[in-house]
Symmetry: none
DNA sequence: CATGAATGAGGATTCATTCAT
DNA sequence: AATGAATGAATCCTCATTCAT
């Protein structure tokens, strides 16, 4: 899944800005808002404390900026996949592949952090709650219904199916990126079986 | 000549200890170590700051105590399930049910926090790394192999199957307990499909 | 040097009270007021926290009580020695012996602590400043003047001689009770040479 | 591209460090580790709380740093004095003068505090115990033996003589710097008499 | 634009003291 | 009289943020 789209790249054209955001994403996604110290971001980015504040008003703003990008990226990925050629099953499989790739993980973690963390104030929370699970369900529903009609997707309420499936994917990404010895990301076939007939 | 007899004191201590641990579990599991302030635990438990330190040396010790309990609980649940009567499939289904119940969630979150958080020092990390995924795989392997022989469990390397399945379950519990509007825990049938033939 | 005189013993007739005072003296003299925790006294005395407060209003009162006893004891010891038979030199030597014995040390330390410590409020400070060095000098002056006349005590202002000598004795007691490997209390002959002709 | 060049930064850091150490020495030596609150050091140094921790990891490290300096200083002073020209007696007298000067007192007090205080952890205690009285005795022994041979120093075991003498000097410095009205540092002649023939 | 010394509000922890039993 | 659980003010320390250079 593409982490940031074209427009965002334009918006974040400044090299320094990107550098800081990349460092911040890396740390926030691993440790959450409260667990992240500015000094960690500063160190990861290889710059001075002061410079961060030239580009971002606060730790919060840094986090909110990242969350915005993650949400938009996720939406785009889903919309993009529905517009691909092929069977419904193949499209869904493609989406799962995109979500599971390395670049996708930090964004899932970020959104999870945003939902649980404490330091996350209004703005990020509002942003996140704007895009509830139902929005994603709406985007994917036609695809799943098509799959149910052609007999490749399991029967039942497609809303529940999608919601449960996205929850599983998010959970796996959250947990799977920690440590090989502790968790193992299942292969795509196994995941697809969950929604297959 | 204690004004309260030994028994009463022990009872008071045990009760307080449990009360504090329950409050701490609730907060830690939601916010992680760094995100948890002692004041939150204190408020949740309805006691004074000082009293926590009467029973636990530090925030860390509190966390480690909880992690120990969670690990022991998980091991017990798995061992218990394998000893139940019934088919392999039924036993696994029973295990999933147990893991997915409301009381289970905080423990999964706790262990996730323990693996990611920062304030978690040696002791908790060692404890956790002692019980790697492989240990759990070992306990459940006979069950899965039996299921593969009787044709109820999907074929393939049972180790991979179990590891992936446990990862999914953990991820779902992590993420699923946040907010109904954001995530939805899939029903057991859907989860079981992942490992079913 | 007798640590507490008859009257004081009557006053502190209660066994518990004595027990607490003894424990407190031992700890205060070693660690000072700020360095002493009630829990240390409680442990040393082998009683409960609450009980200390049956006998003493506060840590402060405990300290002040001890300081009072120490001051009175020191004064008495000096007066007592001047009234003994023998030459001036012998009397002074006797005083030094008394001061240097094991029981004397805690009181010197206590008075030093009282002069330097911070937690010592008005009452103790007033008590201590009531009995300044000059008072002790007054008591001992006749003895030293006699010694100068009979040629056993070094010449010079007897006030300075006494003040310096008492300061040395106090310092030695302070420092000498710490650790054999670190400090060594000099023998009496060596100390006496300081004021001998 | 640092706005302040390397040299300036180093200079600022060194100055601040010294400023904090000076303030800390002043407070620690008077009140001991437990009796010293960071706010006192902060006030004495005229800086903010946070800045102390920019330069020293903890109150302990601050204390340990000072103790190290004190020990090194004492050793140097002794070694230096033995290398001076003049008679043994003169050299010893010179050493006493050096030890007794105003700047010396805090160091003696510091070392005393380090030996008695409680908050003093391993590192300081080890440092101090590395340099026992015996080490100082070794350095000064040739000087005292020379003095005994030329008839200016009192006879007897030079080890005992030195150990007792250093103990007295330390005690005097400890006690003597408190309050003129309470203690009086004896003049050098008086102190020297203790070891003179 | 860039640095890092400096600040201080906030959080963890200690410990004198109280109080129900 | 005696206990020890319980309290909370005071202390140490951290870390987001500012600012002189």
């Amino acid at each position: 899944m593409a982490p940031l789209n074209e427009e965002q790249l334009i918006q974040i054209r400044d090299e320094r800005r990107e550098q800081i955001l990349a460092a911040a994403l890396s740390v926030f996604s691993r440790r959450g808002v409260a667990g992240t110290k500015m000094s960690m971001i500063v160190k990861e980015a290889g710059i001075s404390h002061g410079l961060v504040y030239h580009y971002f008003k606060s730790k919060e703003e840094l986090f909110v900026t990242l969350v915005k990008g993650a949400i938009e990226g996720a939406q785009e990925a889903m919309s993009f996949v529905t517009s691909l050629p092929g069977t419904a099953y193949d499209k869904i499989r493609k989406l799962v592949e995109e979500m599971m790739d390395e670049e996708g993980a930090p964004f899932f973690q970020l959104i999870y952090q945003a939902r649980t963390s404490d330091g996350v104030p209004e703005e990020a929370r509002i942003l996140i709650n704007q895009y509830t699970l139902d929005d994603y369900v709406s985007i994917l529903r036609p695809l799943f219904e098509e799959g149910q009609r052609d007999g490749t997707i399991a029967p039942g309420d497609p809303g529940e199916l999608i919601a449960g499936f996205l929850t599983v994917l998010t959970g796996v990404m959250m947990v799977g990126s920690v440590d090989e010895r502790q968790f193992r990301i299942p292969d795509i076939e196994m995941l697809m079986r969950m929604i297959s007939k």
